[in-house]
Each structure stands twice: as structure tokens, then as C-alpha cells.
Symmetry: C2
Subunit: 324 residues, 2 copies
């Protein structure tokens, strides 16, 4: 298959995705897109490499496509923005099955359609392993941009959902085929394969002036809370680690520590926010009414520089480091 033929097939796969505001899409030298006046655009990029981020035997191709887009959308959510358009660079070895690749794009297209994110272009290249590099642009009202750096001592640290499910799903997919087909654990496999970026939640939180800082937990609570604190010039005290109930149940079966999964596992894509402590109760109620989800209290921002547990033990950033 030639490059142009594969571009044409990929374009076909992505046809369903909303493109009303795109005046030129896949196939020209670049996409053309009409930004709205008075808004901010945000841009993020994230790559996934076979053997590093995924194994072909551990998840279906649709899930691989889903995850690389989801990782980027989660960054957009963490800014309080909504996604607008994306580009996808794909690299793959000569012997790769084209149908398998196109199924990856099916996973991209399904999530992109739900997120109203237009796939505006891309690049194809030979590579020694399969790799996807995605860039997403989002938009957000200037006053709603929510950075990592705004946390203030006294703020409540809260999560949009419990952690550890993705890490538990990874264990099932790679090491425990005996448990992977137990329907009780199906939510863990789903959390690992098709994690849902918290787009609605991020936009809602970003729109509140009581949310001072926000980051996604793609690299694990220990690393990402550390990053939020470092950017804000604060410390934090953690008194509760919200662990996904099904992950906890699996950990009981396997003898693992589910708190470690939550702290260091990463790829849960829940949002971690620093919220004005006086507003937290009311805001959490309204958040629940709007999204159907519960804001989970993790701890509080402190004036120090350390991130630690209530008993004083330091929390080292031991989540995912792409260079380790």
C-alpha cells in the first residue's frame, strides 16, 4: 500500500468526526481552522510507542488508538479547556498489518467524535516500532484557564475520581490471564484500555474561580501532586488516597498494595485540583449535581515545600517517569 492510499483510508475512518469549523482537513499541507475571537487556544502533544506504552498482545488496536488520544484530551481537560482539533503522526515497521493500524484509527475516531475533536491531519512514516504522536488543540475562555501553579496554602486537594484502576487493569492484561475474564474485574480492564478523559469535569472546574490549580494524574498521584506543588511553590499533606473499589478487591486477591497503585500507577486520567477550602463543600455538591461524579478529598495544600502524609512521611514522586 502506498502512503497516499493509506492516507485516503485513514481519512475515510475519521470521516464521522465533527469538522464544522475546519475549512481544510486531512490531505493538504496543513489544516485550516477558524479559532474563535476572545478565546484562548491550548495545545498539547503526547506520543505512545510500542514496547514502551503498549504491547500489541495486551490490548486491542481500538484501545491503543483510544488511549493515545485520551492522554492528550486529559491534558486539555486539565487546563479547563475543550478540545477542538488534533493531528496524528503514525510510525510503523514495514511488516505491520494495515487493517490492525486502521482499527487503531477506529478507536481514535470513536473517542474524537464523543469529544467533538476534529482530526485535522497527520503524518505517516516508517519506524522500528509502532508509534503514535498526537497533538491536540483546545479552546478555553481566558478567565477559565487553570494552571498547575495557582495552588494556595489551605486549599483542599481533591480528585475527580478514585485511582489505581488503570494500574490494576495492566496487571490483569499482562500477568493474570486467569483473572482477566472474571466479570467482576471488567471495570479494571476498561480503565486500562479505554480510560475516559475528564473533559466535562475539567471544563466545569476550570470555570470556577474557586479552583486555583489543576493537573491530570496521568503519571500517578505522587508525581503529579508533586508537580502541582512545585509549580505553585507549596507543599501538600495527603490524608486519604482514594483507591478504586474494584482495584482494591483485585489487590486483595493478588496480595498487592492498592495504595501504591493509586500513588504511582498513573494513567487514570482523573483530574487533581486545588480548591478554595471555604468553597469546597458547596462546590463539591454542585459538581456532583452537574457531572454525577464525586469530588474526592485527598488532603490539603501547605505552606512548606514537601508533599507528605499526615503522619509526616514524605511522598517521593515515584510515578511514571518516561526516562526511567
Amino acid at each position: 500500500m502506498t502512503e497516499d492510499a493509506l492516507v485516503a483510508q485513514i481519512r475515510e475512518r475519521l470521516r464521522g468526526v465533527d469538522a464544522a469549523r475546519l475549512s481544510v482537513g486531512i490531505g493538504d499541507d496543513a489544516a485550516v481552522w477558524q479559532p474563535k475571537a476572545n478565546n484562548r487556544s491550548v495545545i498539547t502533544t503526547d506520543a505512545m510507542v510500542e514496547g514502551v506504552h503498549f504491547r500489541r498482545d495486551a490490548m486491542p488496536p481500538e484501545a491503543i488508538g483510544h488511549r493515545v488520544l485520551a492522554a492528550n484530551l486529559s491534558d486539555i481537560a486539565a487546563m479547563g479547556a475543550r478540545p477542538v482539533l488534533a493531528t496524528i503522526a503514525l510510525g510503523f515497521p514495514p511488516e505491520t498489518d494495515t487493517d490492525w493500524l486502521l482499527r487503531c484509527y477506529d478507536g481514535v475516531a470513536a473517542l474524537a467524535a464523543r469529544a467533538h475533536c476534529t482530526i485535522a491531519g497527520g503524518d505517516l512514516t516508517r519506524a522500528p516500532a509502532i508509534l503514535f504522536s498526537v497533538t491536540v488543540i483546545g479552546e478555553v475562555r481566558a478567565s477559565n484557564v487553570t494552571l498547575r501553579s495557582g495552588a494556595r496554602p489551605g486549599d483542599v486537594v481533591a480528585l475527580t475520581g478514585p485511582l489505581g484502576a488503570s494500574r490494576a487493569g495492566l496487571l490483569l492484561a499482562l500477568d493474570r490471564p486467569d483473572l482477566a475474564f472474571d466479570p467482576a474485574f471488567a471495570p479494571l480492564l476498561a480503565a486500562y484500555r479505554t480510560p475516559e478523559p475528564r473533559l466535562r469535569e475539567g471544563r466545569w472546574l476550570g470555570a470556577s474561580r474557586h479552583v486555583h490549580a489543576m493537573i491530570d494524574t496521568s503519571d500517578g498521584l505522587s508525581t503529579d501532586l508533586g508537580r502541582l506543588c512545585a509549580a505553585s511553590g507549596t507543599g501538600a499533606e495527603v490524608d486519604a488516597i482514594p483507591v478504586h473499589a474494584v482495584a482494591r478487591a483485585l489487590a486483595e486477591r493478588t496480595g498487592d498494595d492498592p495504595e501504591r497503585w493509586a500513588l504511582d500507577g498513573g494513567e487514570d486520567f482523573e483530574l487533581l485540583a486545588a480548591i478554595d477550602r471555604h468553597a469546597f463543600g458547596h462546590l463539591a455538591n454542585r459538581f456532583h449535581a452537574h457531572t454525577g461524579r464525586t469530588l474526592l478529598r485527598v488532603g490539603r495544600i501547605t505552606g512548606g515545600a514537601e508533599v507528605r502524609f499526615a503522619d509526616g512521611i514524605a511522598i517521593a514522586p515515584s510515578g511514571w517517569d518516561h526516562l526511567r
Copy 2:
């Protein structure tokens, strides 16, 4: 070195690049950028993989960084746009020399500064080979957007410069160390290592209503003219292949066919435009006065569907196909 430490060093390398319109840059979940009202934004992405697009022994790291950004900027130029910001995803094996990688970013930064393109963020990941995936966003007045698809029968097909120098430089760098240090051939090595995207030329041409279609020649004249014609529903007749004079001199020494380099070599990043035939002479004069460069006549757009030489011989797209 940890990921965060490497991000900090890369950020330092890219500090010189103009960021006046960027309200949040490298280090948060995404960049925040203020687009201008009433303008179009364009976006393009291009990846370069070690062993596929470059070899570490064939060019200095600064040139590798230059080239991956240049390839994207060339796409922006081909739309008639000016670059605004870029993201860079980098993948590399564990044993890679960090200083070598940072020198790649020096090459990125130097070109980005000249092009006034802000490096707004990126991603780092392990990978089985060194790979860069760059996305660039550009802006252009809506009326100046110039696509591949606007060529009309009778239009003059013209190039912003001669072709084949990059391909000739590749030969020098890989296969002819005996000639690579001959100063007479230095322009070829420069064309291969640090090709200059035709940004000023692209904006100027895009602003003219007489320029009906434009594409860059990154994959070779035979492929890219074929793409322009396919998008426009036209054919073309080629009566002159503008070959770089120094490439021609090298070909005489090596016994190669310089016309084939120009047709199929690619990576010259000259722009190929279809221009109203009545306006061509006057436009070429003004182009020369404005840019100091000469618009080189290649042939004309025809009503047929074939791209061929004046003697009727078909020109098959035999330039760079990333899947071949």
C-alpha cells in the same frame, strides 16, 4: 537524568525563541496561546525517525533538529501562512547521550527564532530509536490561504528555487566522503543538512490572487506535482526541470543523473506554485524584487489528468513515499 530535569534543560535551550503571544509555555499540561481574530490558523505535523529519515553519522545533531522543524515550517509556507507555535515530541533509547539530544534542540531553537515560531511544549518518551514528532501551528489571513487544489489549465507551474541539492548532499554525506570536504560542494551539504523553508516566499505568493495553488516539494517534484494536479483535477506538462547548478556539477563527477535527483530526490523544500499565465511575468519580477529569488518556470497546468514531459512521456510519482 529524570524526565523533569531533561524538560527543564530543553526549556533552557529554547528560551531565546520569541514567546510574546504565549501566555503559558513549556511545563504545564498544555500551552496557552492567543490567536488573532479574523485570521485562519493552520496546523501541520511531521515526524523524523532515526534510520528512516536520518543517521547520526551523516549529520550533526543541530542539523537533525533543524530539519524536523524545517519540514513542518515548509508545510506552513506552502499554505501561505506564517508559523506561530510548535510542539515537539521526542523519543529516544535509554543509552542516548543527553548532550547530543540537547544539541538537536539548539538546531530547533536557531531556526525557530529566525522563523518567529514559539516552541510551546512537547513530550519525552523512551523509544527504540531516536524520533522527533513536531507539530506547527501557523496563521494566515483567510483570503491568503493557498491550497493544492486551485490549479487551472493554462496556469504556469513554477518553483521558488532549483531542485536536487538536498539529494546531492545526501550522496556526499553518506557515500562520498572523498568529495564531501570539497568546498565547491559545500552548498549541497548545507542544502541537505539545513534546508531553508521558504516562509517569506510562501507568504508573499499566498497573498497574490494570481497564485492559484501551492505545495512544497518535500517529497520530490514528480510526487508533489502529481499531488497538486490530483487535488486540482488537472494534468501538467513539464518542459524544464530546474536543477541546482552545484548538484549538476557533482552529478558530472559521479556519473549520476541530476534530473532524477530533482524529480525524485525530495527534501528541497522549494515551493511549487500554479500561477495565472497572464500575471506570471509581472509577478515573477515583483517576486524577485521582494525576495531576491527567481521564480523558475517548470511547465504548465493542462486539462488532462496526466503529468508528463513536453515530449509526451509520463512522469510517474517516484519521489519519497514514506511507506515504500
